[in-house]
């Protein structure tokens, strides 16, 4: 696997030097033929938009609770009332079994669904607004995907949680990529004892199983910090675990690239070493890095859910797909409140989409593949 990738970058470098057709255009053309990859891409675009504009798509804020509606089941949307076609609406519900949290429709109350309604206030990019895509009038409630223990809307929390779960992968990746590329670049370029020492250090990081390192590091997060900073720290920790493997691959590639003529040429005209690394060598590892990136984002998302599973990830009441799913992973939820598993489905679809997309991207960036 590492071997084929190394070959990729060689050929790509040759393509760059030739500057005939843009390799990116070719890749895009090939990617478009890869149906699963395209599907994955669209799903990802949709999910990210859903998360970014959570305030608009979600009928409620992620923190809006309703303690009389513990584990409310998803509300059915009706279009017929007393045999007549009407505007889509939901019925009011009453809790008929408090032990098992069973809710039944109360046919005497009707709450029509309106679009572009005023709901909970929010602030996006400095703009205050309360415009939401849809909603029903209070005291009615619309739970497209049911409610959690506190009566919070799962659908809304999915949108807000996506902000953390999706972007933890992207931000974490950016951090671990930068560390990995710089570290690997320096190590491979200098070679010799510097390389040797740096690789031994990265081996140490690699040989400690990531999950335990994660666990130990999450215990040193300072208490009493605002939740957004905690989110960033968790991301940094995740990135800290992921960089070493990447650094080693980059180093191998740099090692072979730095033996090539154009580097000697750059050195001959007196370019400084950091400049050579950043401007000339690293760009040639790009295609590998892009593929690696798409394929490793899922591991960040899964790690976050693993951390939440043992209770040290993103903290309640803020939502993340991981901590929402961890709420679902007990017997009671599996048997009675299966809608709590929906975040798991979102994680699954995201990871799957990234895999499809990354796989297609790999084929697309590999000059050897035809069809």
């Amino acid at each position: 696997m590492a071997r084929t990738d190394r070959e990729n970058s060689h050929t790509e470098f040759a393509g760059d030097g030739g500057a005939l057709r843009s390799p990116w255009k070719m890749a895009w053309r090939k990617l478009r033929r890869h149906k699963l990859a395209v599907a994955g891409m669209w799903v990802l675009i949709f999910l990210h938009l859903f998360a970014i504009f959570a305030d608009f798509f979600a009928p409620y804020s992620e923190l809006t609770t309703d303690r009389r509606r513990t584990y409310h089941s998803p509300t059915k949307i009706h279009i017929f009332h007393e045999g007549k076609l009407v505007r889509p609406f939901v019925y009011g519900y009453t809790r008929v079994d408090t032990l098992r949290n069973i809710y039944e429709e109360d046919k005497s109350t009707m709450y029509p669904i309106y679009f572009f309604v005023r709901g909970d206030k929010y602030n996006i990019l400095g703009i205050e607004s309360d415009l939401r895509l849809f909603g029903v009038e209070a005291p009615g409630k619309i739970y497209l995907m049911g409610a959690d223990r506190y009566g919070r809307d799962i659908f809304s929390r999915l949108a807000y949680g996506g902000r953390r779960s999706l972007f933890i992968g992207i931000i974490g990746l950016v951090i671990s990529l930068s560390i990995g590329m710089i570290y690997g670049g320096v190590s491979g370029y200098f070679g010799g004892w510097v390389d040797n020492l740096m690789m031994r250090i990265s081996e140490i990081i690699i040989s400690i199983p990531g999950f335990y390192l994660l666990l130990a590091l999450s215990a040193i997060l300072p208490p009493n910090i605002p939740s957004d900073r905690r989110f960033m720290l968790i991301t940094i920790i995740l990135a800290f675990i992921g960089w070493a493997g990447l650094a080693r691959v980059i180093r191998g590639m740099v090692l072979s690239i730095s033996r090539m003529e154009f580097v000697a040429g750059a050195e001959a005209i007196g370019a400084s070493q950091p400049r050579i690394i950043v401007r000339h060598i690293l760009p040639n590892t790009m295609s590998y890095v892009i593929v690696h990136a798409t394929l490793s984002i899922p591991s960040f998302i899964l790690s976050e859910s693993g951390l939440s599973f043992i209770g040290v990830g993103i903290q309640h009441p803020l939502a993340s797909w991981g901590n929402m799913l961890s709420e679902a992973l007990n017997l009671a939820s599996l048997t009675r409140y299966p809608w709590l598993l929906i975040p798991g489905f979102f994680i699954f679809v995201t990871v799957l989409s990234y895999s499809f997309f990354g796989d297609g991207l790999r084929d697309a960036l590999d000059p050897k593949t035809q069809t």
């Binding site: 215990a219 693993g306 050897k368």
Partner: protein, 322 residues
Amino acid sequence: MFRYIVRRLIYVIPMLLGISSLSFFVMQLAPGDALTTMALSPDVSDEIMEAMRARFWLDQPPYMQYIRWITQLFKGDMGHSFLWHAPVSWVIKQRVFNSLLLTVVSLIVAWVLAIPIGIHSAVNQYSWSDKLLTFFAFIGVSIPNWFLGLILLYLTMTRGWGFPIGGMTSIDFAEFTFWEKVVDLARHMFLPTIVLSTGTLASLMRYMRSNLLDVLRQDYVTTARAKGLAERVVIYRHAVRNAINPLITIFGFQLGGILGGASLTEIVMNWPGIGSLMLNAVQGQDYYLVMGNLIIGGVMLILGNLTADILLAASDPRIRYE
């Protein structure tokens, strides 16, 4: 070759120092220590806390604790576990076999299934069976192990599949005959093995598929085909051998990981292995138990990689180590 092996083995020492010191100081950074939670027990007075801290050297500065531990290590003593009131080596010994059994079997299952499936997929690229297998492989990679585990347990219970839920052996295991023991173990291992091998199986077959596809595109394969060799011979005698070579590196890496355990899977499936032990140890700041485990894991990893290198040299005559 021999000198290469010796040199690789010498690397072990600084590696282990690095692993143990990194893990020790990371755990030290976390507030409190293994005894902190005891302070909330109404029965434990401050006096007793101090006596216990002194006994375990927890009242010393961290670097002194570390130096003491390292000197002990060179005498073959991995220190004392706070949580277990017992020597670390003894605690690990209780679990090593269990983890080894589960991971090795899962590895074997994954490899034995992944290679033929990967070959099939590559040879019949873009056939419906390849697409189906690819799809399942992606699902296998995308589903978290512990999630799969919980779902399997739940299905076992509700559907009455008859597998035991959790644990490694039946109660009367000690009185069983040898074959009864084997059957009993196999029954208990069935679900955890599925859970643990799914991810590996899925990714391995993807690797095998893409490697074989790469090889099949190479010139010598075309030459062999042109010479009129039977397709079967071309694929199985020549291509597959070359496609497997890169996987040996992965094998070495996995070999190194077999003692790391799979903590979440072990907890959900109630498998008494190293993974769940480690999880408790890390959370309970049982420094020496964690370090002992990591040291053993580190040695395994280095040996695994070394084995892979040697295997690679044996199977690929172009590779020489100096």
